[in-house]
Symmetry: none
Subunit: 141 residues, 4 copies
DNA sequence: GTGGTCTAGACCACT
DNA sequence: GTGGTCTAGACCACC
């Protein structure tokens, strides 16, 4: 299975960001084997009917973040994951993201329990395999 | 205590969005009494050292979402809670919000369980009680 | 014909509101094809001799109401029709709109029957057919 | 029955305008007899829990529009209605108001017939009596 | 005093 | 090129 990506127009998040996030999620969830190349820039652009520049940019970002790496002449491959953000930076970003979700959830009339449940059910869907290996903090806390 | 808001520059979320989220959270959590006006546009702008237009934009958004209402010449007040979105629209927006959080979480190296836990702990903090008219200061905490 | 908009200064309704209403009417009447972008923010501003910010505001409102969607870097497009408001909210907004018209009509000295007739004749003009994908010009081209 | 007025906060129309419209509608619908005074400024302000200045302003506007007139020492009374706008001006304003309603109606998913019906049912409610006497075009003047 | 609108001009991110 | 955000400063209507 050659990794299916999909983008949705009209979203607030840009196209290249959607690609970054999906590839990233796939890599972290173990859906991409280390010896398996990502779709080529031109191929993916054609498949998604977007500009190759956009795909190129997304891949560039992923390389910069250390998620994937280019093996010249062979393609892009997932690299061994390394943390790129400092611990405080990670915490800050995560807190912000959680705050956003909770605000939106409350605004839409969801109860706290429902919000948690929405997230829980979606994360289960996202990571069917147990191939998660990164442990950013340490404890299984 | 007349509702303290704070913004952080250099964040990925825009200033006006930060205001929207904070006011929204405060209003929904009952930290704002119905007969108590929000900070004035100019006042808040001065306090946060930003342009009044930015505050105005944030307030406008909140009005359109039904969270607060403008009483011209008097100020902005929290409006009575009502569900303005249809069920499909609610689901759609919530799904987008959840997707956004999960993507960010994965990117930051959080495991699914950790993401859920982050949300769970924060919702507990946000909602000391189910009653909207809870007393924010005395706290059944 | 790429959608002609016009505004009149000195009206009681604000410029950005006029744009919202006209685009809204055009989109809902099917005068805009789905793959055809709206006039660009700068282009429309130039054409109407107003500030780009004003156009931007109008477009932003339309995005929030689900009428159009922004594809960053490409332009604004009409989005697929969806009902974003809940039934009570729809009723509430419609009631307000009707009240506004009736008041204005009375103030202008129209009788109830005349008011109804004005609306009836205009709705007939606005909706040549029930199908959204109607062809406004003639040819099936 | 001493003419009941009501205002609603959080509306886009200002308070004084709401008063103007309601008094105007009442006068035109014949719900106000010519020998019957309107509520006093102070009385109405007290009743509606608003600032007397606001009521005063509304009455001033009505006087300026020729809808009511002051009989010093006795109070405000409805005057014999005269047209204050030129015919083209009236038509222009009415057209604008109708356009607004139709746009909003379409946006909310109402069909043309439903929009007309909404207006029709409301005008019936507004004017149960047949005491409409103004004839804007032919002139019973 | 309050919010609402508009203009002018700038910078950024995305395609 | 596109839209999105922010600043600066102005004017208006409302209370």
């Amino acid at each position: 299975m050659p990794l299916t990506l999909s983008i949705q127009t009209g979203s607030t998040v840009s196209i290249y960001r959607q690609i970054v996030e999906q590839v990233c999620a796939a890599a972290l969830a173990g859906r991409l084997r280390e010896d398996e190349p990502l779709p080529s820039v031109r191929g993916l652009a054609e498949q998604l009917v977007i500009n190759p520049n956009t795909v190129s940019r997304a891949y560039g970002e992923l390389v910069r973040e250390g998620v994937i790496e280019a093996r010249p002449g062979r393609g892009m491959f997932v690299s061994r994951r390394r943390q790129i953000y400092s611990a405080p930076e990670r915490a800050r970003r995560m807190e912000q993201a959680v705050t956003s979700l909770i605000s939106e959830g409350f605004l839409l009339g969801f109860t706290p329990d429902q919000i948690v449940e929405e997230v829980a059910s979606r994360t289960r869907a996202h990571a069917p395999s147990k191939a998660i290996r990164s442990n950013p903090k340490g404890g299984s806390r």
